[in-house]
């Protein structure tokens, strides 16, 4: 019955690397279903207000992290400057790759309208993207895709968790406007 305690110990020792369901199941010699069940119970136990850490699933691994409401206190302890966030150029490039992968540099540049070597270099060095092959065709250009670190960096479980890409089209906007005016007139008549 101390299985939950063992899982907690394993996750504590693994720190930022985290552990997969599979690794935990292998260490405890139990089924992955049982692990999922225990994880659920652990998660709930951490939900309580007097706990400072919680159990999250990011990039396919389970990790123990501090709760975000306590960040201001932790920041008081921070000594070395926090790592800088991504530049706008890198972030835009990354967004394009995240939604359109696998994608070539030329395709990225076409969407952005500017050369994109530098942001690509930054993203590669930060291990947020990697080469995932080469496109068929003349030039055989490199294709880029996102990595596990990308999921971790943005706190995502899987790529499916990416918010849907905003769609703009004229009809939708018109419809929205119609709906707005409809509602407005409804409210006005009710008001009368």
């Amino acid at each position: 019955m101390e299985k939950k305690a063992i899982i907690e110990a394993l996750l504590f020792a693994s720190g930022e690397e985290g552990l997969s369901h599979k690794q935990i199941a292998a260490a405890l010699e139990i089924s992955e279903e049982e692990v999922s069940e225990l994880i659920e119970q652990l998660k709930q136990a951490y939900e309580q207000e007097e706990r400072g850490i919680m159990l999250v699933e990011m990039a396919g691994t389970l990790q123990l992290v501090t709760k975000k409401e306590y960040a201001p206190y932790l920041q008081k302890l921070v000594e070395s400057p926090t790592t800088s966030s991504l530049s706008q150029a890198a972030l835009e490039t990354l967004a394009i790759i995240a939604y359109r992968q696998p994608i070539t540099r030329a395709e990225i540049e076409e969407i952005r309208g500017v050369k994109s070597d530098k942001p690509l270099q930054t993203l590669l060095a930060k291990a947020l993207i990697k080469e995932v092959g080469r496109a068929e065709g003349t030039g055989r250009p490199i294709l880029y895709g996102t990595t596990k670190e990308f999921l971790d960096y943005f706190g995502l479980k899987t790529l499916d968790e990416l918010p849907p890409l905003p769609e703009f089209n004229e009809e939708d906007e018109e419809k929205e406007a119609d709906l707005f005016f409809e509602k407005l007139s409804e409210q006005l008549t009710v008001g009368e």
Partner: protein, 174 residues
């Protein structure tokens, strides 16, 4: 002319055009090319006056806008209109630019969403893995199956670590 933002804060000509479209409340589906070209050129000229770096892409876009403007102003070929059998639909020269702007705008929004998540994630603190080397039995391991990206990933994780203050020790010197 008065400007609020310097050129460096734009991510290329598409970004600048979106900014102008937003500022002058222009309908993106029906861009008044003459007007926007004028504003765009004024912007570029002001930047050159200040000797700020103007990336080459901005000049290419300036040429593109001027081309579209002249295409729209000059009379169309009469010959095409005479051909009754085939209804040649004159393509809007602005169409491609509009599509490009819409596509770029989409990812600009998506990047904003990612920024929010980046900030939120930065609020969650973790700890470096514990040193478990003492538990390693002294026997040879099969080579690990890792590649260059695993190395970059490991380094990126390391560099993201925040260093917290160590407990203070005070010694009294005699």
């Amino acid at each position: 002319m008065q400007y609020h933002v310097k050129l460096e804060s734009f991510e290329g000509p598409l970004d600048l055009l979106l900014h102008l479209i937003h500022r002058y409340e222009i309908d993106i589906y029906d861009i008044p090319v003459a007007q926007i070209t004028e504003q765009y050129m004024a912007y570029i000229h002001a930047m050159q006056e200040l000797q700020l770096d103007v990336a080459s892409e901005y000049l290419v876009m300036a040429a593109t806008l001027l081309e579209i403007k002249s295409k729209m102003l000059l009379p169309k070929h009469e010959e095409e209109a005479l051909d009754d059998d085939v209804l040649v639909e004159e393509e809007d020269p602005r169409e491609q630019l509009m599509q490009q702007l819409l596509e770029y705008k989409k990812f600009k929004e998506a990047a904003k969403e990612l920024r929010k998540r980046e900030e939120e994630r930065a609020l969650l603190f973790t700890k470096p893995p514990s040193d478990l080397s003492a538990y390693v039995e002294a026997k040879s391991f099969p080579p690990l199956d890792v590649d260059l990206y695993d190395m970059l990933g490991a380094l990126a994780k390391l560099l993201r670590r925040k260093k917290l203050q160590k407990p203070l020790h005070t010694k009294v010197a005699r």
